[in-house]
């Protein structure tokens, strides 16, 4: 039996350093990578992607990606589409913040409790999309994923 490369999902987060939503994207992606889906996900560095990182671009051409953007400018999604392939899923933090009634998430430098709650919501969405792309059971069926501080 050949040793085929394992299918993984690439996560590309917004780099919006000037807004708290950007911080939410980075924290959510790290949470998924470190604790919620460590075996099934990798992160792709957006600046490296934009600067011409061939490894990052090649991955996004052949593997499914999820773009996680802070705002509707959608830099991560647009960059992925421009340089590799359309992301298999796109998540925008401002939209999720509206859905879950999250207001006043703190600063870009330090999220407050509300910002951390939003981070958990976004991480949950990433897990849902990852499961969908890998055809795994939804997180409601799995246990041990979801809330808590990263």
């Amino acid at each position: 039996m050949p040793n085929l490369p394992r299918k993984k999902v690439g996560l590309i987060s917004c780099s919006g350093e000037e807004m708290p939503e950007g911080t939410v994207t980075r924290r959510a992606v790290r949470k998924v990578l470190e604790t919620l889906h460590p075996d099934d996900t990798v992160t792709l560095c957006l600046p490296l992607f934009l600067a011409g990182g061939e490894g990052e671009r090649a991955f996004a051409r052949y593997y499914p990606t999820i773009a996680i953007d802070g705002c509707d400018k959608r830099c991560a999604a647009l960059a992925t589409q421009k340089y590799s392939a359309k992301p298999a899923a796109s998540i925008v933090v401002t939209e999720i913040a509206k859905e879950c009634g999250c207001k006043g998430m703190g600063s870009a430098r330090r999220l407050n409790a509300e910002g951390l709650r939003l981070t958990d919501e976004v991480a949950g969405k990433i897990v849902d999309e990852t499961n969908r792309l890998l055809r795994k059971k939804p997180r409601d069926v799995q246990r041990g994923v979801g809330g808590g501080k990263p």
Partner: protein, 136 residues
Amino acid sequence: MKRKIPVVPCSGIGKSLGAAAREAAYILAEDLRPDKTKVVPLSLLVMGDEDARGEVAGGEAVAIDGCKLECAAKGLACSGASKVHKVAVFDVVRRHRGLKPEGVCDLNEDGLKLARATADEAAKIIDAPGGEGSHA
């Protein structure tokens, strides 16, 4: 009103040095030189956002990079900055050999010290005679 000097940090989320670069940018723009500097996101610059490019075009800027790929400095150079001052966390850490930065979302104490040392170096550049930030 005097133009604030744009500070563009590394956006990497894979390593502690990238996180230290980002934290250093916040320390510089919020604590050390809030009247002279402001954080501008790299992705907007590189994606050609007009507002972000307007902040940078024709003036000096500070790039704070986490690794040798220097994405922030390259992004600034391609965005019309007249002069890019490079601050490299990977060089700063060599000058502070005792520091062992860890963490990405939450830097450990050494990571925060490294960020502060990086921000201090950037502040000196801002204050240097002849630089935009040196004018009152």
